[in-house]
Amino acid sequence: MEAGTVTTSIPSIEGYEEIVVESIATTARLFGISAKKINNLRVAVNEACINAMEHGNNYDPSKSIVVSYACKDNNMIVTVKDSGSGKVHPDFRRPDVEEQVKKFKTERIGGWGLFLMKSLVDEVDISGSEGKGTTAILKISN
């Protein structure tokens, strides 16, 4: 199949992320990306979409998330863009899960999204443009 870019827009409503996750997984399979990489990519894209809905668009259903993806030369690149403030301070450090487990009664367990993305794909870049939203770019190579 010839390389091409697919762009999908979804509302900031939980559940819609599954549409793009499955579509990306299907595209990756058609282009011969390994099953293990596809499984990791599904989780990473899901986290990127949920982050965009929550932190970017505050779950405002009228605000969209634009997801673009393309496979070329054994690389798959996925771009997830929200409609938020664009102010970003990405922290990819491993969350202290042991500490979170100890303090689960007083502090929420979580904040794993960026670390998961970084761990599961080959490259991640998060950038923002004030007033124009935040963009997460995920890349896997076969």
Binding site: E14, G15, E17, E18, V21, N39, N40, R42, V43, N46, E47, I50, P95, V97, E98, V101, F104, K105, R108, I109, G110, W112, G113, F115, L116, S119, L120
Partner: protein, 122 residues
């Protein structure tokens, strides 16, 4: 004979003798994890099987909520067995090394083995 109750579209709680079994399916997202929370509120037994075999997609938030509920249950003496853990759940559990920090929770391959393991506890 088992009793069954559904919570939302993706969560079912069943009672089998001394074991309560929670079946989670489809997308373990924020909404489903709130249904899981409601189901946990109705767990009466001290041995609980959680079947994740039909979870096709999960967010870390969904899995973290499940983890918090299990920790709360553990403090009250509940023993948990996770079984048929699907690939998306396993990816997050492994990447975050979660099971290293949780005591008293066993991961088993099949429902049958989880039931057997729970029956042998306490």
């Amino acid at each position: 004979m088992s009793k069954s109750k559904s919570f939302g579209k993706n969560v079912v709680l069943e009672g089998h003798g001394e074991i309560d079994s929670l079946y989670i399916s489809n997308n373990l997202d924020g909404k489903t994890s709130e249904d899981v929370r409601l189901a946990f509120g109705e767990i009466k037994k001290e041995k609980v099987l959680i079947n994740l075999g039909q979870v096709r997609l999960t967010s870390s938030r969904g899995l973290a909520t499940l983890l918090s509920l299990m920790l709360e249950g553990e403090e009250e003496g509940v023993i948990f067995a996770l079984c048929e853990v699907s690939e998306p759940c396993m990816i997050i559990l492994n990447t975050m090394n979660i099971m290293e920090y949780i005591e008293g929770v066993e991961i088993l391959d099949t429902t049958e083995n989880a039931m057997k393991w729970l029956s042998e506890q306490g």
